[in-house]
Structures are given as C-alpha cells and as structure tokens.
C-alpha cells in the first residue's frame, strides 16, 4: 500500500520487509503488532549489527590495547556520537549510556539526593509512568523534600494554570514526560522548561514515548536532562541514554562505583574519571549501545518528518474507524497526541478484549499501562491501548476494528 496523501515517498510495504517479525503468524493468523508504545520491533539492519558485533569484534572496551577492543571501542563511541548528533547535544560526553529510561531517571534522582534538603520541593506531572514517580518518592523520603503533583484537566492535558502556581514554591526540580504513555498526550515541554528555568528549577524530560515519533533538539529546548530508551525506537532492550547538560554532569556525584568510572584508586581516595565515564561504571551493554546507534541511523534513513506524517494519518484513520464501534470510548486529548489510542468498549473488560483479539493475531496492550494515577483519574480499572508505528498499515487497522467488533459481540 503506497501512502499517497503524504508528500514524502513513504512506501510502507518496502519498510515492512525490513522487519522479519512482521511476517510471522500468531495463533494461526498474521501478526498485527499494535503494542509499539511498549516496545518497537527491530529491523534487519539493526539485527545485522548485533550479529556482526558478536560474530566479528566482541571485546571489552576502553582498556584493551588489542585490535578487537579498539574496534569495539570505536564503534561504541561512534554510536555515542550518532546519538549526540541526533539529539543535537553540544558534546558527545553529555550522552550517558544507561540500561534504559528507568536507569537514566534513577541516575538523576540519586544525584539530586545530595543536592536537596527538607525545605525543597520537586514537581512531577500527573501524567507520569510509574518509573517516573517512584524514584522521586524515594528521593523525597531520603531528603525529606516535598513532592507536588501537576494535575491533569478532564481532557487529559496538564493543568498549566496550576503549574504556574506550583512554580511559585520555587521547586528545585520539575519532572514531566514529553509524551504520556497511557494517553499519547504531547506535553507543552518548551513552555514548561522555560517557566521552570525562570524560577531556577532544573527540569528532566522523559522522552521514552516521544523519541519514536519526533526528533527532539536538546539545545533548542534548553532542557537540563532528557532521557529515553533504545527499545522504543527500533533498537534492542536493555540500553538507553541520559542527556544532561555538561554543567549538571559535573555537579552530580557518580551513581555507581566500579570499573571504567575511576581515574585513580588507592584505599585512601579514588578520583573519578572524566565525562561520560564518571557515570558509566562497569562493562556497559556494548553491543546494545552500538545497535542503539544503528537504530537511530535506521529511523533517520526513513526520516522523522515522514514517520510523523504517516503515523498521524494512521491515527486519524484509526480514530475514525474505531469510533464507529458501538460503546467506544477513547481517553485523552483529541488532538495534540501521538499515534496511541487508549480506549474501552462499554460493557467489556479490557482484559477480555485483549485476550480475544490476541486469538486473532492482534497484539494490543491492556491494563493500567504502569500509570495507575491516570486510571484513578478517569475512575476506570484500566484501558485497552493500540499504538501505531510507521510500519503499521490501514489494512491492519481495519482488521483491528473487525477484531474488536467480533470480541465485543462475544463478550457482551
């Protein structure tokens, strides 16, 4: 199916050939993968990089004088530069490799433990994933600082009026996701960053749900910390990154002790290595880092503008089609969102819905999406969520809608 309404050359059939998993069957039916917000699929180009690493140059990095170690180090550091360029960071050493978004957030939260005291306030948005709430609760327990929540409006947007009021408390830190995983809401982070800085607060943006769809420019955003995971953007699991302004990386203490992060060690004193190694203790996920870089290259070869345009088209198509289903309720904002549809069908439990459509080969998410506060807000026990990627098709959406109708008929 050629996508004709877009100005770009976007041939989804050709793109799908890059993803071997998309041609498998599940329960005897062709797989329709609509759980992209949980994890994206991996193109052959990235799989090849992983195989190449273990087949040809697997070695520990940064310390070997031998050729394999050098090759692996070069590729790993090249991947860091790829990520730096992609996010337009000023320096490669402002990119810290982590095991993923959660690790990145914990690294920052842990660092702030030594910078906060009982009189301090930190702000977190009500639209957060659990991983972005718990580390701050732990931080507040440790430092006795106060955690305040930026609430949601009934539309599923952040209440910016309350945000303005909370900023009067002069918080030290603000945490918000770029895009909500449960609802797909795109938060006004430019405005939020500017306002946070105006009162002297640092701000961390969780970009896990944003990076598969848009290309953030950390310098233009003037953000202090930006975090994301490789597996949401066609890379492997177990690898992610923390971008932090150089000044912050100097201010924060190291997160973990171990090899790679030290300059000199005696039993009296250890001096830490320079950036980025100060935050990268131990042998990292070398292959993962290299494959993360390859995944970013792959996505850029398709182009984020083309991806965003096509996914928007899929979202509009899916919203229209799904709204024809009797009893359909879609949660979250109508516009200003990414290709995520969080929904319920009246009289049908999301778990039942997910179970039946799985039998039809369709993978959707059900439950609370690690975002219980959001579910409490809507007074529901959970939702079903279909999330679309640039390799999905309108035909798959048609099959989803048929599947949901069939399931609803069985279950009501």
């Amino acid at each position: 199916m050629k996508n004709q309404s877009s100005n770009t050359v976007f041939d989804v059939d050709t793109i799908r050939k890059d993803f071997p998993i998309l041609s498998r069957t599940v329960n005897g039916k062709p797989l329709i993968y609509l759980d992209n917000a949980a994890t994206s699929q991996t193109p052959q180009q990235v799989v090849d990089v992983i195989v190449d690493y273990y087949s040809n140059y697997n070695a520990n990095i940064h310390r070997g004088v031998h050729s394999l170690s050098q090759e692996a180090t070069d590729k790993y550091e090249n991947a860091r530069r790829t990520i730096q360029q992609h996010f337009n960071a000023a320096h490669a050493h402002e990119i810290i490799f982590t095991s993923g978004t959660t690790h990145s957030i914990n690294l920052v939260a842990n660092g702030f433990a030594s910078l906060l005291n009982a009189n301090d306030t930190i702000l977190v948005s009500a639209l957060e994933h659990h991983s972005n709430i718990v580390p701050w609760q732990m931080l507040c327990e440790k430092t006795k600082a106060t955690l305040k929540v930026i609430p949601m409006t009934s539309e599923g947007d952040l209440d910016m009026k309350v945000y303005d009021e909370l900023l009067l408390l002069k918080p030290k830190l603000v945490f918000v996701n770029h895009i909500s995983n449960a609802l797909g809401t795109i938060n006004p982070i430019e405005e939020m960053i500017q306002k946070a800085h105006h009162v002297g607060a640092a701000i961390l943006i969780d970009g896990a749900q944003a990076c598969p769809h848009i290309k953030p420019d950390v310098q233009k955003l003037d953000v202090d910390f930006y975090v994301t995971s490789g597996h949401k953007m066609c890379g492997p699991t177990g690898v992610g990154m923390l971008y932090a302004k150089e000044s912050w990386l100097h201010k924060l203490p190291p997160y973990q002790g171990g090899g790679e992060m030290i300059a000199e060690v005696t039993f009296e004193k250890t001096t830490y290595a320079g950036l980025p190694h100060k935050f990268e203790a131990g042998t990292p996920n070398i292959c993962g880092g290299i494959a993360f870089g390859a995944a970013i290259d792959y996505m850029n070869s398709i182009g984020f503008e083309a991806i965003a345009a096509y996914e928007h088209e899929l979202l509009e198509y899916a919203t229209e089609k799904m709204n024809t289903i009797e009893g359909m309720r879609i949660y979250g904002p109508k516009t200003n969102k990414t290709s995520v549809i969080s929904f319920n069908i009246e009289g049908v439990h999301a778990y039942d819905l997910g179970t039946i459509v799985d039998k039809l080969g369709i993978a959707i998410r059900t439950g609370q999406h690690c975002a219980q506060p959001i579910m409490d807000f809507f007074k529901i026990s959970g939702t079903a969520r279909a999330s679309f990627s640039f390799y999905n098709t309108k035909k798959e959406i048609d099959t989803l809608v048929e599947g949901l109708e069939k399931a609803a008929m069985m279950l009501r």
Binding site: Y351, D352, I356, L411
Partner: protein
C-alpha cells in the same frame, strides 16, 4: 459429585468444540452462569492478587467440605474461575489438596496455566489450595 467425574465431564463438554472461539464462547457462558457471590464477601481482602482483572474468591466450610463462591469484573476470567469452582467446590480439603490441574490442559486452556499470564489462574489455584490447607488444619484440630 466425585471430583474425577466432574473433571471428566468438563473434558467431555469441551471436546465437542473444534476451535478456540467456540471454547471461549462456552467459557464466557460458564462465567455468565456463575452464581453471584454474596456482596459481603466481595471485599478487598478477598481479591486475588496477580490478576489484570479483579477476582474475588470466598471460601466456607460446610459439612467438612469447602464451598467456594467467586466473581470477576472480566468475563473470561469469570469463566475460568467458574470452571475451578465447579471442580473444587463442595470437595473435602484433602481431595482439593491432592487433585492436580491437568484437566485445564485437557480442555484446551493450557495457555492460561503459564504463571506469567495476567489472568492469575495460577494465583486462583494457589488460593483455593491455601483455603483447603487452612480448613484441613482446622478440621484436624
């Protein structure tokens, strides 16, 4: 009724279905016909953890047999719990404890037996056995 006979009946009933849809439709039907749990037992304490849907399970000892009542907000889960109640309710604690759950595999619902499934079938069985163990101890005393 003898627990083996109940299991054999269930296997027999499910064997007439050719495909998953018919099996699930039957399971949904079983769920819908599950007798209502008394509202005073639909408490947070009776919720089984480990389910994506809510499952309430209550047990009482009557004439040395354990009587289970249950409910769920999801109909497939309710069907699963209805099957378990049909097998395990009105049995002696001893019988409940020594009975295995192979019949679930035999009625074509093996996929639900994986401990990582979000429906919590494994948690339900564990809870049923725990009640049986508790009542066995009580009778023994």
């Amino acid at each position: 009724m003898n627990i083996e006979t109940i299991q054999a009946d269930l296997i027999d009933e499910f064997s007439i279905f050719d495909d998953w849809m018919e099996r699930y439709e039957y399971m949904i039907e079983l769920g819908k016909s599950l007798p209502m749990i008394a509202s005073e037992f639909k408490t947070d304490d009776n919720i089984i953890k480990g389910c994506q849907s809510k499952v309430w399970l209550h047990a009482e000892l009557e004439n040395d047999t354990v009587v289970f009542t249950a409910d769920s907000d999801a109909i497939i889960t309710k069907g699963i719990v209805a099957i378990l109640i049909r097998v395990f309710s009105n049995q002696s604690p001893e019988t409940i404890l020594k009975t295995n759950t192979d019949f679930i595999d035999e009625i074509g619902l093996k996929e639900h037996l994986s401990p990582t499934r979000a429906n919590g079938l494994v948690s339900m069985i564990k809870k049923i056995k725990m009640y049986a163990l508790a009542y066995q101890t009580q009778i023994g005393l």
